[in-house]
Amino acid sequence: MELRVAIRKRFTSFDLNVDFTVSQDRIGVFGPSGSGKSTLVNLIAGLQQPDDGIIQLDGTTLFDAKTNVPTERRRIGIIFQHPHLFPHLSVRRNLLYGHTRCTPENRKIDIDSLVGVLQIGHLLERGVNNLSGGEKQRVALGRAILSNPRLLLMDEPLSALDDTLRFQIIPYLRGACENFGIPYLFISHSLLEMRLMADRVIVFDNGRQTAETTPEELARDRMGISTVGYINLLHLTNPRERGGITSFQWGTEELLVSTEGGTGENLFELSSKDVILFKKHPEAISARNLLHCQVVRTFASGRKIGVELSCGGERLVAEVVAEAAAELGIAEGVEIFAAIKASAFRELR
């Protein structure tokens, strides 16, 4: 997919002025609320018209001084913040709404394979008003994918869901698009969502793109200014109950986590603020996890120094102030101990 967007749109409160070209399939648009992200979605989808500029998708001009392809002919799917399912149609008829309007030569995805990927087969004959929030968003995703779009715009699709649902839906969003080869633009103000959904991120502020980077670099850059620090995402496996806490496998290491059981593979978040570094092995500490690590690299972020550690084949980021870094003698290749309390982990799914 190649998307070129160079447009301007004036509003009374702010001006949107963007110019970017992206060629990856999983693009994130990150920025605070009110920065113009949703306006950008509307302009790319054709729901609003730019004052001037150009929008091209895979070499086809969707908008310029002479062209303005209407929304219904752009073949750009949208997943909105709210599912916007048609309340008078069943789940099946919602799913097929775009499919039946797609020309036969573009109809590459069939309902049976999609229903399997999204696990909504049992919902097909039901009305949409009694579905749960997560089911509704899955149906909305399925409906957009079945319209066989060239590009899918996901406009804060998780912000109306609670945390548990958010992280349950993410694998569906990403998995379904990968499965059916649909590139997407994922719009969100959540850095964590960006890291789970995007390979490349356009950072947006006040109607302009301010940077283009990877989600990982963005997270490291923002570590120093973020109240939650850098969020380590840990895929933990093989849960075993051990005296009121659960032991998980993490690379070759074992981690003790204050959680009730696990489902086999669980995703946990751990803030860089919750990792305490020791120069030498401490005699005894209250934290239940003490990992022997090696410093891979350090990076500056605001007033903090991020320390990327290699522990049992996995990566972990801790943050320290410059004074602590000097005392610990932190440098590339140095061996160090990282202590993490069992209660510092938060289960995402």
């Binding site: 989808a45 054709g46 729901l47 209407p70 929304t71 219904e72 002919r73 073949r75 750009i76 799917g77 949208i78 909105f80 709210h82 916007h84 048609f86 309340p87 008078h88 709404y97 775009g98 309007r101 797609c102 009305g127 008003n129 909305a140 409906r143 957009a144 319209s147």
Partner: protein
């Protein structure tokens, strides 16, 4: 026991016929005007709004007189459109239909508009992004989702049509068996010394029909709500 003569039966049937035909004929226009007023931006929107709603505030007699001036033999439409086509409207039941349609039209448009305004804009954007053009969206999303408004408007217009008097008597007259509807018949009986009983009986018929229409409307609304 009071028995209706053929003239009273004719008045009842004519009232029903005029209201039904006026409502059915107005429906597509009412829907189109409500759609334009809700979803389209165009010059003269305010003027159209005032024009459509004018019959609500004008005395029906004034509407009847304006229609008479337009549709009569010397009227603009009567002379240039109807006469060449050999159509005579004034003092026929068709004139009563037109009078009823004009008087009830704003009620129909208002109800459909309220129904349309409650439709989430996001649904329309979703349908567009799924490949449906405006006409497709209108038929498959807006029409079914504003159906309650359409039914409410039709019921209101039908009920208003049953009571239509002022405009009808001017353009259609009060000819028993031809243009005499229930209100006109009641007016005639109420004006005659011995007509009280028959006037009251026709009033009862009016009430029964109106209650039946309202109950039918309520039944449909409940069914549609349950259908959610």
């Amino acid at each position: 026991m009071l028995e209706f003569s053929s003239a009273e039966y004719a008045a009842i049937l004519l009232s029903l016929k005029v209201s039904v035909v006026a409502t059915i004929l107005s429906l597509p226009f009412g829907f189109a005007v409500a759609y334009a007023m809700t979803y389209r931006k165009f010059r003269g929107k305010v003027a159209l709004d005032v024009f459509v709603n004018l019959p609500l505030t004008l005395p029906p007699v004034v509407i009847g007189y304006i229609l008479l001036l337009l549709l009569g033999q010397r009227g603009f439409i009567g002379q240039h459109v109807l006469q060449p086509l050999g159509i005579k409207l004034i003092f026929t039941w068709k004139a009563a239909v037109i009078a009823t349609a004009v008087v009830g039209f704003p009620l129909l448009v208002r109800s459909i508009r309220i129904g349309m305004e409650t439709i989430d804009q996001g649904l329309l954007q979703a349908s567009c992004s799924l490949g449906a053009g405006w006409f497709d969206t209108m038929l498959t999303i807006i029409l079914p989702l504003s159906l309650r408004g359409v039914i409410a408007g039709s019921a209101l217009m039908f009920a208003r049509g049953l009571g239509e008097f002022g405009a009808t008597i001017i353009v259609a007259g009060n000819i028993p068996g031809v243009t005499q509807t229930i209100p006109l018949a009641i007016y005639e009986y109420a004006s005659s010394p011995s007509g009280d009983a028959m006037a009251i009986a026709l009033c009862v018929v009016s009430i029964v029909i109106s209650v039946a229409v309202l109950l039918f409307h309520e039944y449909l609304s409940r069914r549609m709500t349950r259908g959610d």
